[in-house]
Symmetry: C2
Subunit: 392 residues, 2 copies
């Protein structure tokens, strides 16, 4: 038998599999309405447009070959154009770097920007994929709470005034996963100002910004400071199978990431990168497509939040679901969402307890509900089941 050598044993002990992924495995049963996942709806993904783009891409044999580590040039150009419009300044192609999903950007940035023991400030509750990366990098992690206007930048300021010196602050600026909230415009300016004054990096992790329902998301934090590294992705507006994430960052950061990318996986797929470029560059089509996703997700979010308020009344406080993929629900009556979960699954509905997103502990009276993959009627049925489980 082969041995489990000590480093391997420690890694197996020390790392925990994503709580969400493990849960998903448990609740894949057909009779359970899944609000636990974090997946976009594959029925809304532009399958035929992707098939057409694949055919076009494969007409060029060079799309079968290795491509540049920083990403296929024309894809970087399309992204630079879009980000220039979003940021209100010309973004040069050198400041755009394509990654294998934006998760890879987080992982490579942690390697480039952090020394072991460096202080990283995250939001609490946190995006667990970021937490996992910063923990693996050996960072010291301090959490700042969120409220209805996003990260409590005043709490970050308190930390700084107490002498804490973060290397990095991570924020999911729009339609937070899991917390559902959006960082207000005023706090964006304050956060950028603190980054400038104290010389830390901000990672503005923005996979959901285009999925607004009523009004566009505020201007990116990156509008206000070159210390802000902006991440986004095609996964939520096009399809995760493209594995196309990207960052907009100062040239030195992109070059540092490029060297690491060569060791991490050499380069991305020229095929899926051309498909992504083709779809992102198809302006009229893209506008229509994203509008449709917004409209349908918006209807679902409204149905879910409406049903929650109808059914549970004052027993819960729920976010408004102004965009993105998630609603966050706090029980006001002391219901323990961790204890409720097995009963909920028995009643045919699954969610993720808030505690799965806690940086340390807490959020036992909260849950994250994903509204993307169920229609309005199913979401109302899910809320009925949840109610029945909660009064059993």
């Amino acid at each position: 038998m082969s041995r489990i050598t000590p480093p391997l044993a420690r890694r197996l002990d020390g790392l925990q599999s994503s709580a969400i992924r493990d849960l998903l495995k448990l609740t894949a049963r057909d009779d359970v309405i899944g609000l636990a996942g974090g997946l976009p709806d594959e029925q809304l993904m532009p399958r035929d447009r992707i098939a057409l783009a694949a055919e076009v891409a494969l007409a060029d044999r060079s799309r079968l070959q290795y491509t540049e580590s920083a990403g296929w040039g024309p894809l970087r150009e399309v992204i630079a154009g879009r980000e220039s419009a979003r940021l209100g300044r010309p973004v040069p192609v050198e400041e755009v770097f394509v990654t294998h999903g934006s998760q890879q950007a987080l992982s490579l940035l942690a390697d480039v920007l952090l020394d072991p023991g460096a202080l990283v400030v995250v939001e609490d509750p946190a995006y667990v994929g970021a937490l996992q990366v910063f923990r693996a990098a050996g960072a010291r992690i301090v959490a700042v709470p969120l409220d209805s206007e996003g990260m409590r930048v005043d709490a970050l300021n308190d930390l700084l005034e107490r002498g804490e010196r973060p290397a990095l602050v991570h924020t999911v600026s729009n339609f937070h996963n899991p917390r559902g909230v959006t960082l207000s415009s005023e706090r964006r300016r304050e956060l950028a100002e603190l980054a400038q004054r104290h010389g830390f990096w901000v990672i503005e992790d923005d996979p959901y910004g285009e999925l607004w329902f009523d009004r566009p998301s505020p201007e990116p934090v990156a509008t206000h400071s070159p210390n802000v590294i902006r991440l986004s992705s095609a996964s939520k507006i096009l399809a995760p199978t493209l594995r196309a994430g990207w960052m907009v960052a100062p040239n030195a950061v992109c070059r540092g990431v490029e060297l690491l990318k060569q060791g991490a996986d050499l380069c991305g797929s020229a095929l899926t990168q051309q498909i992504t470029a083709d779809l992102l560059a198809d302006g009229f089509w893209l506008t229509d497509h994203v509008d449709k996703v917004r409209r349908i997700y918006g209807e679902r979010a409204e149905a879910l939040v409406g049903a929650l308020r109808d059914r549970f009344g004052g027993r819960v406080v729920s976010t408004d679901a102004a965009g993105g993929m998630f609603v966050w629900v706090d029980f006001t009556d002391g219901t323990d969402a961790v204890e409720l979960l097995p009963r909920a699954i028995d009643h045919g509905v699954a969610y993720v307890p808030g505690s799965a997103f806690a940086v340390e502990a807490g959020y036992r009276n909260s849950m994250r509900l994903c509204f993307t993959t169920s229609d309005a009627a199913t979401l109302r049925e899910a809320v009925d089941r949840l109610w029945n489980a909660s009064v059993e």
Copy 2:
């Protein structure tokens, strides 16, 4: 202006871009015959078969979604079947892990198996992609030379007898990059025995094993010990754009890698993984396809080695090019391949000097020539140009 924080500055200082990649940029001119690259020939890649498989894959909307971190189940099953045949034992699916090219397997394995300062033994000259990963992991690297039968396992044994205790030994077992040689069957058994006796891991990095010209590669090192982790890839037999690498490793190693893969990039592309599975499972087609690649690469290798021997006679010793993508050439007359390179480029031919692959230093009188992307006549012309440059 944004600052270059100290960790970033050190990474930019400390890491070197791949010498091969930088060279490729210099020699992309049309009038230069490129023997410097390490690319398979895109003209031989099964473009139409990939297009058909893409169409089939996209008929299923779930191929647009995220997939399992360990790889799409049916792809792992196809690989398990192929590796079972290769290894002469049933390989369970749990021991197959799909990565984003086999470079990602190297990178994740370094994270899972090595503590900083751990001893890693590599071959000299080395595959630079592996060297980069082990250096980034903070490993102490010791090199063992190669000869015509591959890694000098006796030199590894000497190291062990002197009390060195490697955590890991890396070998490119078949048609070594850059050295062209194949580890003999006897040495495979010896290496596996040492791994068992001393409890180190062997990474058997085997992207080229199927590209044999006259007779099949010897049995994998992994046949002889469960301490051997076997890596391979679809890049050299199908197409790099699929970004499909894989490892065969004990379950505990695969589970350790799975946890890290979630942080690194969540998962691969369900689309390119289904395309890969489709092609690998299409047995008769695949046999024909790989036979064709073998035959054409074999003719090219023969033309290159023949021209070298005709033109340079006793001035060089060249490998036989029994498979893979590279010929390694030693000048016997003291010609310095680093000094020769600019003159060679002036004469319209590019190669990589051996010193680019040195673990410490050396191989200045050697060069690596890639024969995959030029036809026989072009290769003969390249050798003429090289001769002219060398007698200038």
